[in-house]
Point group: C2
Chain length 425, copies 2
């Protein structure tokens, strides 16, 4: 490592990558650790789950992003702890090693939170990792194969699909499922009554898309209902089993598919490390995103309870916050090395958007600008292409989008179950 | 099914698909059964295995191929037997059913054959299914991650890759691996001595690409050796273990990766069905591809021992034979329904080709025309694009090829391990 300070970044999501990139011109050596060899573009996972995109379209090899960044090396491994006295990050047995650090940037991300709903952890699938998305794709297509082989299964809920959570992920997933069924699977299964397939979107609050303006919420609701999605507001899931869900209202719906978009909590590793955390397990940070009492330790993205201008509530666990907080920490490390003091993190809200279906989206930009319909949809497409890592992935996504749009088709609707093999490799 | 005869086709590979398509205008009802919901374009599996293509690029949903063919339905299921008395195909428990047939077209394909080499079945990976290809991709990339974390592993063979079998699959795989290492992974692992990675191609005969002309064989050999592939002719693998292979010559090579392209044998289901089989388990067929003694039962593709003009040796287990034999059987069923007699199968050899690397391939066409180098490579690209099912897959493959060629890069080099999940779904 030479005499330059060593910055270890744990996690190669939006936050970790932003920190890594913004350290390119800082006189440090950087080690970026992730359990996977790829970074996942989570906003498009629902399109992998609904057979619109290839898995590799929304995943980019981490090493490929840093060919030109000489002060950075990538290390694949699972972080299991930190020895605070020796200031080393501890990796799992398989990686068999440790990384000493001068600065540690924790970009650990989040995991699904089950709100203590019985059976949810066992029988629902979140939509947070690439594996989740592939699993949902396989599982959904399997249901249609099963129903096609034995249509009586439809009476037992084989084609009932429950999406829990009316935030952007839940809304996008429900809309994409309804479109997959109506447009694509209807043609794939000509003898199956695909119209009996139900998409039920459950939201505990009285409106979808909580942080959006009421007019956007209504537009989303109208569009989903027009697409035959059954939206249940003010309803919650009380129990999930292998063959049904029970709602808080007492109603029981037979289903084999519960997709959990109800919320995330910080990676539990944060608490395990002995760091101060908030409710939801997020790491408490000072206004410069340093962890109080832990010199040279920073937290960014979903795992950090970053606040804007001393706000009471932490900022939402969204990609823009992660990217900006990652970049902020990189700049603070640079400032400290120049002998300057740190400055507080300021989040610049550039707006938020969600897509609901074909030429349908809602977008809210700063200054009260609200977009709907085709314009919002095109803005959504452009922005997601822009932020996607790697030109090849952008081209591939563009190809698949064009294909879906022009041909009313979804390409990668294959059930690719893993088969156990030699070495589990 | 009405009063039309019912044709059941088992297997949706080249042979089964060709039979299905050519029955479109025959007055029959067709049921096409496959264990997967997709068909695999096997000639490009080695490119999935070397991170050049997405899995879904070489797989097409079977149902999507037959939207317009009204007399065909697709059934996903595993065939476990045939009740010859009742003339029904028996499906596995999960599919829980059976299919009565008037005509049965067996297009069961092949599986790897291990030639009784100890340890091969446990520790080598064939390259015959899409799962195989994804497993090889994950496994190869894992080796580089492991070696990067602990370079001492290189001394113990972590970066030694053995390809067994010098036919087209082995040659293409070895060439693609060498290119992946030299062009792409060298940049991904700047601190790893990637030059120490070895690709060893083992062929028991004295030349590669057995059926090709000597000049093509030599061109392939020269090109592979120029790409640093260690080609061992007249050598065989005597044993495979988790950490080494032992050659027939006695030499031991440490390795964790053995890719088995040494040959295939017919799907063992053929023997289980009680049909007459040849050495290699292929179904004996009459010259019209009907199974002698089994009225209305036909075999096509890799599982059939089809002969051309009473030849002694069955035709090779290659895609063109499968496609032509599938189409032939469809036409014979049509003839029988018209009250005409069947005609013998004639294989039209339109040539054979193999690619070795960037702008390097060999092709042999009828009439003694032999191509090499860029011309052969372009012919190879064009032909494979042409035969690939589905426009979307063609566009995606074209995009990925252009990307690899222009950017010296491979897109989908992600290690996507399956994670066990709810319902195993």
């Amino acid at each position: 490592m030479g005499v330059r300070p060593h910055v270890v970044i744990v996690g190669a999501g939006f936050g970790g990558l932003a920190a890594a990139r913004n350290l390119a011109d800082v006189p440090v050596e950087v080690t970026l650790i992730d359990r996977h060899n790829f970074t996942t573009f989570q906003p498009l996972l629902y399109q992998v789950a609904t057979a619109g995109l290839n898995a590799a379209d929304v995943a980019h090899p981490i090493r490929g992003l840093f060919h030109a960044q000489r002060n950075l090396r990538v290390r694949r491994g699972e972080v299991v702890g930190v020895d605070w006295d020796r200031r080393v990050v501890l990796l799992d047995d398989e990686s068999d090693g440790e990384e000493p650090f001068d600065h540690l940037v924790l970009a650990l991300g989040a995991v699904a939170t089950w709100f203590d709903v019985p059976g949810a952890a066992e029988h629902a699938t979140p939509l947070y990792t690439l594996q989740d998305a592939v699993r949902v794709r396989n599982h959904v297509l399997e249901r249609f194969e099963a129903a096609d082989a034995d249509p009586e299964l439809i009476d037992r809920g084989e084609l009932n699909f429950v999406v829990v959570g009316g935030g952007p992920t839940g809304v996008e997933m429900a809309g994409a499922l309804a479109e997959l069924f109506a447009v694509v699977l209807r043609r794939d299964y000509p003898t199956l009554p695909v119209g009996r397939a139900r998409v039920v979107l459950v939201e505990a609050l009285d409106s979808l898309l909580g942080p959006f303006h009421e007019s956007s919420q209504r537009a989303a609701l109208d569009r989903l209902r027009a697409s035959q999605v059954e939206v249940r507001l003010g309803e919650a899931v009380a129990e999930v089993t292998a063959d049904h869900v029970r709602f808080a209202s007492g109603e029981v719906l037979p289903t084999r598919t519960v997709i959990w978009a109800a919320g995330v909590r910080a990676n539990p590793l944060a608490e395990k490390l002995g760091l101060p955390t908030t409710r939801g397990g997020r790491i408490e940070v000072a206004d410069d995103l340093g962890v109080p009492g832990f010199e040279g330790v920073w937290a960014v993205g979903d795992v950090a309870a970053a606040r804007d201008r001393g706000g009471e509530r932490p900022l939402p666990q969204l990609a823009p916050v992660a990217m900006q907080s990652g970049a902020h920490v990189a700049r603070q490390i640079g400032r400290l090395l120049e002998g300057r003091s740190t400055v507080p993190f300021r989040f610049r809200d550039r707006g938020t958007m969600a897509t609901i279906g074909r030429r349908a989206a809602v977008a809210e930009l700063p200054g009260g600008v609200r977009l709907r319909g085709t314009v919002a949809w095109l803005a959504w497409l452009a922005l997601h292409l822009l932020y996607l890592a790697g030109l090849r992935n952008r081209l591939s996504v563009l190809l698949n989008w064009a294909w879906s749009y022009l041909r009313w088709d979804r390409g990668p609707r294959i059930i690719l179950q893993p088969s156990p093999g030699p070495d589990g490799g």
